[in-house]
């Protein structure tokens, strides 16, 4: 249970960072918090008490103690997606800094209404 709460709190912290931080890098870190939290959540969902990794490193392992492989696969996918987003976000920040000479999101408001 604590894993759930932990990962959910991680998401919340990420959201909080996105909400109140005005530094672009911190916002990106916040986004990463969110995705890490989600990934942890996914893994926690798949866990079975006293489970082992779902790898038949040799034949004859007890399949009943193995944890759910699907969340692990999903996490794998999600991590890559998060990494992609991160890369793109950083590229954006580089450009933003070049255009606005600032990393303060509150000053980057040329587009409105």
């Amino acid at each position: 249970m604590i894993y759930y709460i932990g990962s959910l709190l991680l998401i919340a912290v990420g959201l909080y960072a996105v909400l109140v931080k005005s530094n672009l890098i911190k916002i990106i870190i916040g986004l990463n918090f969110i995705s890490s939290g989600v990934n942890l959540l996914i893994i926690s969902v798949g866990y079975i008490n006293n489970g082992t990794a779902p790898i038949f490193s040799r034949l004859g392992l007890n399949p009943n103690t193995m944890v759910d492989p699907i969340p692990q696969a999903l996490t794998l996918t999600a991590i890559v997606i998060d990494a992609s987003e991160l890369a793109l976000a950083v590229a954006f920040v580089v450009l933003l800094y070049r255009h606005y000479k600032t990393l303060d999101i509150k000053k980057i408001r040329s587009l409105k209404w």
Partner: protein
Amino acid sequence: MVGGAHPILLIAVPLFFVFLIVFFSSFFKGIVKYLPIIAFGINLIVIYQLIPEVLGKGMVISTTAGFKPPLAIDIVVDRLSLILAAIGSVLGFLVAIYNVSYIDEEPQERYYALFTLLVTGIIWMVVTGDIFNLFVAFEVTSIAAFGLVGFHRDQGAVEAGFKYLVMGSIGGGMLLVGIIMLYAATGTLNMVDLAQKSVHLTFGQKFLAYSMIFIGLGIEGALFPLNAWLPDAHPAAPSSVSAILSGIMTTAAIYALYRLTNLMFDYKQIYTILLFFGLLTLIFGEVSAYFQQDIKRMLAYSTIGQTGLFFFAFALDSANGFQGSIMQIINHSVSKALLFLVTGGMILRIGSRKIEDFAGLGRKMKFSSFFLAIGAFSLMGLPPFFGFWSKLKIIFAALQNPNFFMVASVVIILLMSVVEGAYFFKLLQNMYFGKPAENLQISEAPAGILISFTILGLILIFISVYPTPIINLTHQVANDLMSKSYINIALRLGGL
């Protein structure tokens, strides 16, 4: 290739071409710009082959990895998906032609790859039968879109792209949370399977999962108040991309919401909440559009408004509402894409996005102006254009049981249509009869642009004067949605 087409080709072929573009980009760059045309041309053939099968059986299922769902991901094309996939392919094809004349900025090969990927992702979102696969497609779409929004790399584009990215990422995260909640509850990811296994969940549980999914898809689908990125991002992107974003991407996200709502979250309460979202989106989009000076921004807000309209129609939760909603989706996709393509050509020529600078273009760019007018008319819902039929259907659906709230909603819809008319007529009037700037020397849009929007415009005219097949088709779709035949047919066809 048993039984004609295979729906997975809709995704695999463009992906193949995406990688082909990358492959060729290093040594055979000249061919790159034509590859998307071929890709979506093949897609159109596939769609063409799929049509009789889908219409006949109601659904075509394609499995992956040789396993039956829910073990493996399946691609499901029912009538609704087919409509959206067809729109996506057609738009992709036409915009690919458009690109040839439109994009002259470097890095072209990346643009074409991203563009192809964007459209592929949209089609993917529409045809997938697996909820996590939906998430992946969603991310393919949004990440391709992030890059494309920033394509011009100027101040506005970058800012819009970043905002879009932050909001889109939050949305993606929330969508994933929602999916995981469903997985935790059912242990499966296939939509049909989920729909069957999720029946034992309580309303509260479902609602919570739904709201997470709703946030994710709602951000992409431009539902108020989650749509703040849209009016920035759509204008900032190149017009060709705007056409795709406005025309089909938001629609695809909305489609996903429709599908999931219809399959798993079919509660009156949820629909009631969605009604409010639809109405708010409609009001805020249309009214904001009225105040815009920038034509693309205006069109972007108008997209929000249209989205609100068809979302409202969907939330009516009746066969007529579904039908109206899907008709409106078709209308919106075609017309709004047309508008963006045409304005893209005009902006290319006059070098400004301000509405007042469009004065006198009716004389200089006759074809462009004509199709702009057609598209605007259809969006406004003036007869005999297609938008009229769809709006008609929506209003009729809303007033099926005319209580006070419904009548008030219809009044709001009609008022918003007036607002829509107000800004579109302002534009048209300025364009046709405004006094052009001194010695305005411009010519008609380049050939590629002209061809693409002419074809799109002709499609719009065709469905306007002969709407019967689409009305019939959407009627069937609405019945499918009402009877939840998605589950039944999928079960019968061995989807599980």
